[in-house]
């Protein structure tokens, strides 16, 4: 892709900076965080200081005041070296913060967004429940009106930053009588980080002055195949008290808001998948050009050329899908099918490319000495999170068929 198609000099400056950070700081530490399944607090602190936790939000709200493409570039670059770091920025920004920026009142924006944009605290998005995954309208968590506050009961599962985060946008049923997707409302719930010691040590991730909602509990941490340095946990509401002023957006309009948030999120996840694939290709180029068998570099065999060429071609295609969808969103054009297509294609490519990358590394690729095994593990969730590949196909087909069926 010609850099000048979508990128300004400023985009390239952002890309250079994040590329340096990724190579010099994140790459050397990624393996240890993955192995130990530890949240990378020190790196998160550094990313917060550099402004990476509030890229597209206005400066008045504590953000960097940059555009959406800059944000996508950052996710793409981080994922080239480590997907866990990329999803940390992505879940915090598109899932945790964007609903408040998009649907919050001026007062809510003023109160919560600066904390999130500066990385003072981390944010997340609680939608999925044990019984409501792809069918997100099947939310069972209930919120009961008690005058100046709501009482929430239920549990959310697989929530990124449910543990380390302090501000979570969560959905709950507010009208039991309404049709499935109608009676759902979004709430801004607050809680203390589960990692108080680490958050205090690095100076990011905890705000003692932020009032917390009693009864919002962090459940067990998931032991995952990939994204092991990202924090994924259960979030439990046990008679949780959420102030009335924390109702986010339209009352009983939470489902529509959620769909909007996920539409944008898909481009971020697509960029993340693209980054993993490209990182895997870079590893393959380095490895196959130095690894010698039969007296020659492995990369000199035509069979390997074909594999590398196919990977590079699909990556190029994905790059166009991702940056085109991002450009549509940035310029205020409709982007729903394009975002779903980018996510579908990039995540499936990412899986194929990383499997191929391990193959091209032979036995070395199967060990933790080389990052491709981690990339292969990190790739799988891209086909599942923020809407499975099946759900992306449903979204795309619905856009194609529109009113022709049903």
């Amino acid at each position: 892709m010609d850099d000048s198609l979508y990128f300004t000099d400023q985009h390239l400056q952002v890309r250079d900076m994040v590329r340096d950070l990724a190579r010099q700081v994140i790459r050397p530490t990624a393996r240890r965080y993955d192995l130990e399944s530890q949240f990378p607090w020190d790196n998160v602190k550094q990313m917060a200081d550099l402004g990476l936790l509030g890229i597209p939000w206005p400066e008045q709200l504590g953000g960097a005041g940059m555009d959406y493409l800059s944000y996508i570039i950052v996710i793409h670059e981080l994922a080239k070296v480590d997907a866990s770091h990329a999803i940390t920025v992505s879940a915090h920004t598109t899932l945790g913060t964007s609903p408040i920026v998009d649907f919050g009142t001026e007062e809510q924006k003023r109160r919560f967004v600066p904390l999130l944009a500066t990385g003072k605290v981390l944010g997340g998005f609680g939608l999925t429940e044990p019984g409501a995954g792809s069918d997100a309208g099947g939310t069972k968590t209930v919120a009961v009106d008690r005058g100046d506050h709501y009482v929430l009961n239920g549990s959310k599962i697989f929530i990124t930053h449910a543990g380390v985060g302090e501000i979570i946008v969560a959905t709950a049923r507010t009208d039991p009588a309404a049709k499935k997707t109608r009676g759902i409302t979004s709430f801004i719930v607050t809680k203390d980080t589960c990692d108080l010691a680490e958050a205090t040590r690095v100076g990011t991730g905890h705000d003692p002055t932020l009032p917390k909602c009693p009864g919002v509990l962090t459940g067990k941490k998931e032991d995952k195949l990939g994204w092991r340095a990202s924090d994924t946990r259960e979030l439990v509401f046990q008679d949780a008290i959420v102030p009335r002023e924390n109702v986010l957006g339209q009352f009983n309009g939470g489902f529509r808001h959620m769909l909007h948030t996920l539409d944008g999120g898909r481009i971020g996840l697509a960029a993340l998948a693209l980054g993993i694939a490209e990182g895997a290709l870079e590893e393959c180029l380095a490895f196959t050009s130095t690894r010698k068998q039969f007296g020659k570099a492995v990369a000199s065999f035509q069979g390997v050329h074909f594999a590398l060429a196919d990977m590079a071609t699909e990556i190029e295609a994905a790059k166009h899908l991702v940056y085109h969808a991002a450009w549509l969103k940035q310029t205020g054009r409709p982007f729903k099918p394009e975002a779903a297509m980018a996510k579908l294609y990039a995540s499936e490519l990412c899986m194929r490319a990383t499997i191929k990358a391990v193959q091209l590394h032979g036995g070395y690729g199967y060990t933790t000495e080389y990052p491709v095994e981690r990339m292969m593990r990190d790739a799988k969730i891209c086909e599942i999170g923020e809407g499975t590949s099946e759900i992306q196909r449903i979204v795309i087909a619905r856009q194609l068929l529109g009113d022709l069926i049903d």
Partner: protein, 252 residues
Amino acid sequence: MKIAVCIKRVPDSETRVKIASDGRSLDEAGVKFILNPYDEFAVEEALRRKEKAGAGEVVIVSLGPAAAQETIRTALAMGADRGVLLQTDRIPADGLEVAKALAAELKDGGYDLILFGKMAIDDYNHQVGPMVAELLDLPCVTAIAHLDLTGDKKGGTAEREIEGGVEVVEFPLPAVLTADKGLNEPRYPALKGIMAAKKKPLDVKPASLGAGGLELVAMVPPPERKGGKIVGEGPAAVPELIRLLREEAKVL
């Protein structure tokens, strides 16, 4: 504290450079250019000095092609206040010509400190900093790895890493210093800095350069390394090894 930092746009050490068809310059197609890493230490040191003093100005000066504006922007994004580009299509091979142009720009600037990298990673000349000092009649300490300034803006102490030890040098201000690795850990430009850099003044003017006394005649890639040779195993191989080192490699 008013500090000038002279920086150079150089090819990234990670890119594989090719010699252009004229046989005496680099083929710039596809080459990524960066802020010379030693100059990065100088920029960082200037910013820290200004931050410590709580006031002052850090001015970035570069001599190079129009594209060097991007390099200056990087330093501005790190936190420098303004930039000056002395524009030329071709940086002269003679470091003295570069030094003269820079000295003319710096002469009446009222700088307390003028910083350079100890060398540029493209030509390895180590020349321009000391030459500027000489032209401006200022004291110069090269390749500093540590710096202390007195609180009164009168002088300071610098440490240089020399063979087997550390040399401690005192100097009065104003002075010219060139930075070595180890002086500090340069910061990444934060997004806020990148945004702010867009609005900072960057003055572009033509560089006035003389012909100079040096002409770059040719650039030649280093000879390709030949494969090694295993002359045998164990003590029995020693005489043959000695013979080859003496007669073929001619190193003994």
